[in-house]
């Protein structure tokens, strides 16, 4: 493969991952602060990164930033705020077309990287605090985002289910917080949090694209100017304990279709085996859930399973009519029992493995997916190329899958359902 992968520590708690492949026409660079999730800091982290993306000392308005990026052939600057198990990543990324493909090979890469570094480390300040105009604007937007959580029923049901699945764990904390909290956040708190992130959060730099020779040193030099305290390495994997009895949570809303989410947990070590189990169960269009619960029983429009290795949790999601909820729950449980009993063919096992391999290998073809692939490898403390991960998948045996399936216990049932009563045959 022509892909080159390198990961190295470039400063105290600062790691740089560089993935290059000449077939790409653009470059992607992401710089993230990684810190433990907690209810106080989560919305502050989100807000800090949103404010940083608005302006910087050299481009003092949002319009200036947008125009400058436009001039760089539509380079894009994006915020990145997401939870990874009990940790969170907050940062900015830039994507720009490579100098080889600009008109007359105009050099723009250093300018695009300057925008990223200036926004992150040379913010627009007023009296030592973030510019009030952008603080107010982003606080209002945070409020809007909290209110708008209701607008997306998928996202809403997933967030609400998560609160029960990971109850008492950092992973249950909302990244946005409450409207009241958003309103009460002060500029001083934001500045304090920004300083903490720069000094004591782990910093992950991920570069993926055609070539970074002209910008690598600039990025590292900038990061080395930060005052850093001693920072322990991050441990991402933090298994969620299985509840003693399954938690049931029903929520009503003005919806037409029920969103049913079931969580199963296991301390099983080998995440690749667990992924094959989840794929056989509900990860492919020939999986047990799709072919039986959806196709044969016509119980739902979608029914799939995904394994979150960081938390050791498998989530089964489906869209069901209210009158079919109980039947659908039982049907899902029955399919899991079937895998536990080894009721799957060699062909089903092989199909699941090949399907996973196709997905893994296709990561090679996109700068985002490739960056994301290696970020996730880093969470796992490995640096397997997709081909190596595929070799692992293909070596997994039927007995491993059965053993793995039998370690999963039923943890949570959550459903978002319509307010109105329906006739039920049960």
């Amino acid at each position: 493969m022509p892909i080159s992968y390198q990961r190295k520590t470039v400063g105290e708690g600062i790691a740089l991952t560089e993935i290059t492949d000449k077939k790409f026409k653009s470059n992607y660079i992401c710089i993230s602060f990684v810190s433990p999730v907690d209810a106080v800091n989560a919305p502050l982290n989100t807000l800090v990164t949103e404010i940083l993306a608005c302006a910087n000392a050299k481009l003092p308005t949002l319009v200036d930033v947008s125009k400058h990026l436009g001039y760089l052939y539509g380079a894009s600057l994006a915020t990145r705020s997401r939870r990874v198990g009990d940790m969170q990543e907050n940062g900015l990324s830039v994507e720009y077309i490579c100098d080889d493909f600009t008109i007359n090979k105009e050099v723009i890469s250093d300018k695009a990287v300057d925008v990223l570094l200036d926004c992150l480390f040379d913010p627009l300040l007023e009296n030592g605090l973030f510019c009030e105009k952008y603080v107010s604007m982003r606080k209002k937007e945070l409020e809007d985002n909290i209110l708008a959580e209701l607008n997306d029923k998928f996202g809403y049901s997933n967030r609400k289910a998560r609160e029960t699945v990971y109850e008492g764990e950092p992973a249950a904390v909302s990244m946005l917080g409450t409207v009241e909290n958003a309103r009460s956040i002060t500029s001083q708190q934001l500045m304090q949090r920004y300083s903490e992130l720069k000094s004591s959060a782990n910093i992950e730099v991920v570069m993926c694209g055609r070539n970074f020779d002209s910008v690598r040193a600039k990025i590292v030099d900038k990061l080395l100017t930060l005052d850093r305290v001693s920072i322990p390495p991050v441990t991402y994997r933090s298994l969620s304990p299985l509840k003693q009895t399954t938690a049931y949570k029903h929520e009503t809303q003005d919806v037409n279709q029920c969103k049913m989410i079931m969580a199963f947990k296991s301390p099983y070590e080998d995440i690749y085996v667990a992924k094959v189990f989840a794929a056989i169960l509900g990860g492919t269009p020939t999986s047990k859930l799709f072919s039986n619960v959806r196709e044969k029983m016509s119980l739902c429009y979608y029914c799939s399973s995904v394994y979150a290795d960081i938390k050791g949790t498998m989530i089964v999601s489906s869209g069901v009519a209210k009158e079919n909820i109980k039947k659908a729950e039982q049907a899902v449980l029955e399919q899991i029992k079937a895998v536990k009993r080894g009721e799957f063919t060699e062909q089903e096992l092989e199909n699941a493995k090949i399907y996973l391999c196709t997905g893994f290998k296709s990561n090679n073809d996109s700068i985002y997916r490739m960056a994301e692939y290696y970020i996730v490898q880093n969470y796992r403390g490995t640096a397997y190329p997709p081909e190596k991960a595929c070799d692992i998948f293909m070596g997994i045996t039927r007995q491993q899958v059965i053993d793995c399936a039998n370690t999963f216990g039923y943890d949570t049932f959550y459903v978002l359902e319509p307010e109105t009563e329906v006739d039920s045959d049960e």
Partner: protein, 429 residues
Amino acid sequence: MNKQIIRSDELDEQYTLVHHSSGLDILMWKKEDFSTVEAYFGTRYGSINNCFKTDDTDGFISVPDGIAHYIEHKLFESDDNSSVFELYAETGAAANAFTSTDITAYYFSCTDNYEKSLEILLDFVRSPYFTKENVEKEQGIIAQEIKMGDDSPTRKCFKNLLKALYVKHPISIDVAGTVESIAKITPEIMYKCYDAFYDLHNMVLAIAGNIDEQKVLEICDKTLKASPDKHLESFFPQEPREVAKKTIVETGTVGIPVFSIGFKADACEGREYLKRSVIAGMLLEQLIGQTSPLYNRMLEDGLINSTLGTYMYTGSVKYFCCMIEGESADPQKVCELVYEEIGRLIKEGIDAERFEIDKRVRYGEKVSSINDVKACAEAMLYYRLDSKKLTLFDDLDIIASLTVQECNSMISELFDIQRSSLSIVTNKQ
């Protein structure tokens, strides 16, 4: 068989168009060093094609709404009761399909053995198997899909906007139809529609990745039989200039109201259509893009948030709209300000500096858009299905030669306030 190379020297990229003897247009883009192969087999058939005729029909016939989407679901089943997904499972390809207002397409993505996956694709799309039992069985699943769509305020808002903008055009009909309309679908009607719209003369195969073009053609030669052109013709009622409704408001469970503002313009075709699309995109950026005074004023005032987006909703010859959508506590106020800004642009003209910047943005977008195999396959499909007169690289010349004056001259036509509508989904009071 007629072969044509379509090339861009600026981007150093090219793809091949072959008019296959079966009647099918085949587009192939060899992307060396890429791992995946993406293939789309599509037809010019969507929810708007609910009245049509061919050489085989006795004049125009009307069919129930949602049938194109219904056929898409049912083509995945075969006469031996097996699923197409089982065949794909052996090659490792990830396969799916979609139906839009004017396109139905079936696709796969794979990293190995693309030849076998291509054979499966060409074979199952050409082998319909509709029975009373399997058609009835699908009604429950599609009804669930319709209900799921109804739970999205954004989708509801968009659907309502189309109903407000269009008086007669079937574009305002939901792609999946309604629970009532799909109940009227029978195997007989499905076969009639299939025979009309899945005629190879009405279809396109687009494939990109590390492919061997000769091998692709050999598979097509082996799998596809030459078929006579049935002279398919869809009927669309004459759409009046004016909109059906200026404002449409619906309630739902939303944390913050969502809105869509649409501007109806006349449909056109060929290079004029492409040029108009480029101009519309640039005018939307001038009007309410991230570098515009209006966007930034409303953002700072908290009237909008950064979910605000713009896009064109277009089909060559058929329809042309410019859309603005987002979230706001006061969508009416947003709409008023948009109308005011249109008035100012008509009077003062667009910002020349931002226009030049936007030309660079569009060039950069074009480079980025061909950075991955899936995007290349999709782009070839969409361009070819939308218009036989256009290629994927035609807009590069249009962007390069476009002037401020040309953009100014189109503002009144593309953003005619009299031909606009506002759709809002707000919370129950």
